[in-house]
Symmetry: C2
Subunit: 280 residues, 2 copies
């Protein structure tokens, strides 16, 4: 009964946007796969769902707050999991961060995952005048957080960039604290507000739309994070659909400020509904 109601709810909100849909943006972790030991595991039906979207006339991009690896390594992992994805289709925060550093002449102190460091090769990091934090996971030791704090507190105007603002994500062995938690920690320590690079930043979504050459109302975002994926997309004028995989929790469906345009069991169901309503 519940499942039927949910599908009906989702169906009822799909048609309006599906009829004029020209593109889809997919979140990755929690939608295509669950991360964990090794490469993690593909979510059942998601490899085929991506293939179906690629075979349609919809433009497809992948928008992620993944910051544990370089874009090349990360896409390689997705390819090993069976996904037909290329580097140029994937938009993570680190390249956007580097563009900002260059534009504003900033030298970062980096508190990020070891796997992300090569992305910053060639970026000047001596005598830092800002701090960048990513999903550093085990690198979020007391010592490392304290070091980032000391850099910030010594600056006349502490400048903190956070690659995303997620609360937590799901790995195969359970929920893991995400970068947003440490962003809040440093914000409080220094009495500052961080600049978020990545979802749900409007600038970040706009850069993906611009690459697609589409207007917001022509694009649907599908993600497992109600606030960053769905809410972020909606605040840019896109529709946002949440999947019940990854970090989804039932309480998301009664969130006080963000209501998804549709809620579906998984990516496979979302894609079938999109394509069936378009006659593909």
């Amino acid at each position: 009964m519940r499942s039927l109601m949910v599908v009906l709810m989702a169906v009822s909100s799909f048609p309006a946007c599906v009829s004029e849909l020209k593109g889809v943006i997919l979140d990755l972790c929690g939608v295509l796969y669950d991360s964990g030991e090794g490469d993690g595991v593909a979510i059942p039906g998601s490899v085929e769902a991506v293939n179906k979207l690629k075979a349609s006339n919809l433009k497809l991009r992948f928008c992620t707050n993944e910051t544990q690896a370089t874009r090349e390594k990360f896409v390689g992992k997705l390819q090993r999991l069976g996904f037909n994805i290329n580097v140029s289709e994937v938009f993570p925060p680190a390249p956007a961060a580097i563009a900002i550093l260059t534009h504003r002449g900033l030298r970062p102190h980096l508190l990020v995952h070891d796997g992300l460091l090569p992305e910053f090769d060639g970026v000047e990091t001596t005598d830092p005048n800002c701090v960048i934090i990513g999903d550093a996971a085990e690198n979020f030791s007391y010592q490392n957080l304290n070091q980032a704090f000391k850099v910030l507190i010594e600056l006349e105007k502490p400048l903190l960039f956070s690659l995303g603002q997620g609360r937590y994500y799901k790995e195969t062995d359970g929920l893991k604290l995400d970068v947003g938690v440490y962003m809040k920690a440093l914000e409080y320590a220094c009495d500052i507000k961080a600049e978020v690079i990545g979802k749900p930043s409007q600038m970040f979504f706009q850069s993906v739309l611009s690459d697609m050459g589409l207007q917001p109302h022509e694009v649907l975002m599908i993600g497992d994070d109600l606030v960053s994926d769905v809410g972020g997309a909606q605040s840019c004028g896109m529709k946002g659909v949440q999947v019940r995989t990854g970090k989804y929790r039932p309480s998301d469906e009664r969130h006080p400020s963000v209501t998804a345009d549709g809620t579906v069991d998984d990516l496979a169901q979302a894609v079938d509904m999109i394509l069936s309503h378009r006659g593909h």
Copy 2:
């Protein structure tokens, strides 16, 4: 010139409360001593200042958010530094927390410093229904914070107690992140508000006043933390004086919401001013 102005400012705000003063509450770390390797170091003049207060007719208590050791060990350290202090005069958050646990039938998951654990001997911690965090320092690893998060997020109504809410404190080798930073991290992760046990909690200050048998307007608090010590005392109706030792920063003197009733170079100066205005 600056020093003279500052003394004058402080003097001008002292007399009103000094004339009817019956007791003094002192913060410990950053006022009596700076923590660090081993026992840390006494701040010059503070041993004598405590002795002068004890020789006066003022009641004296020590109110601290120290949670890295049991009260007995902590007081032992202060005695080794030369201070004339007894366990019964010192009020830290852990005993207050245990009283709350007992009163409300709670079983905590503890994320605290190893040195504080013996304080919780005899407290039931299996099948936890709340989380208590203290200044865990190196124990604030990613793994430990994640474990505390998992306990909270599994509870129907996550309940987090924080032993203090300080941003940072000063050790002999520099500033260190305090428990408040990790409180904010877990608050954000679980979308909850922690209950603070310790300064600046009014209930905590009231328990000290009650032990002294004095009214708030009869007592002066001296601390290095503008918000927790000075602001907390003021919100209870006490006067609050800040010392320029410990975590004091010049920007404290233009804080947007808390203004100390006096700002002095150190405890020695504060005590001399109090006693000279009382004719001792």
